[in-house]
């Protein structure tokens, strides 16, 4: 006898397509975009400042100290007024101002949630651009129509009797 039991509909677990934010950030946004958004730019600048302080500043201080100590030992005219290396911060600050910053986007790829203000901003920009585009089309259409009406009216006024 055939089985009359109805086949239960198997629940298909619909896995919602997870939007991989990291991938979106990697593919759609450039460094310039990150710098255009105030919040992401601030993070990038802070990270660069931190990296400079941690990685490069001690090395620059080492170079300066080796030179300063050598000059001090020989009572040179050079660095005469920096007896204990207290002016090195002038040099590091100056270098920080002149060095081309090296912004690291990996930080956002590892913490994509921090880039949400950028995504929202870009959405708003896109929306604004679309609205602007629609407005221009509407304006163009209206202009075209008024021109058409004008030409029709001019045709109406044409005196055929004179012809």
């Amino acid at each position: 006898m055939p089985c009359i039991r109805k086949k239960r509909k198997q629940k298909t677990n619909k896995i919602p397509e997870r939007i991989n934010l990291e991938q979106v950030l990697r593919e759609k946004y450039t460094l310039e975009d990150f710098l255009k958004c105030d919040k992401t730019r601030e993070i990038l600048e802070q990270n660069w400042f931190y990296e400079f302080n941690r990685k490069y500043e001690p090395e620059i201080e080492k170079i300066y100290e080796s030179e300063r100590i050598y000059c001090q030992e020989n009572t040179s005219t050079l660095f005469y007024y920096d007896r204990c290396g207290s002016f090195v911060s002038h040099l590091t600050t100056m270098l920080f101002e002149y060095i081309k910053p090296r912004y690291d986007l990996e930080f956002f790829y590892n913490n994509p949630n921090l880039a949400k203000p950028l995504i929202e901003k870009m959405k708003n920009i896109k929306q604004e651009q679309e609205e602007e585009h629609k407005r221009l089309i509407k304006e163009n259409y209206q202009q075209h129509q008024t021109q058409e009406n004008f030409s029709k009216e001019s045709l109406k006024k044409f005196n055929w009797e004179k012809k």
Binding site: D82, S86, M94
Partner: protein
Amino acid sequence: MSVTPFESLPPFQPYNISVRDRRISFYEWIDSPIKDINGDVEENKNQASHSDYIKYFNSRIEDFLKTNKLQINNKKEFKNELATFIYRTSDE
């Protein structure tokens, strides 16, 4: 009375020593020879001037930046700033 010649900046003021007034301008200082305990400093049998040292120090910084793949935005302006910094930490 303090006398600071035209085109010269006073040295940085350290907390533990008094600072001498400048008697020569920055341009005179940069061409003047470096002096130490043995008198004028020589390099390759030539008198080494402060400008030579600034070039040397700048090259050390540039080498460091190169090895770390860093770049300077305005090299000429940076060199001027560096020269001013060394001038202000140095004696005549």
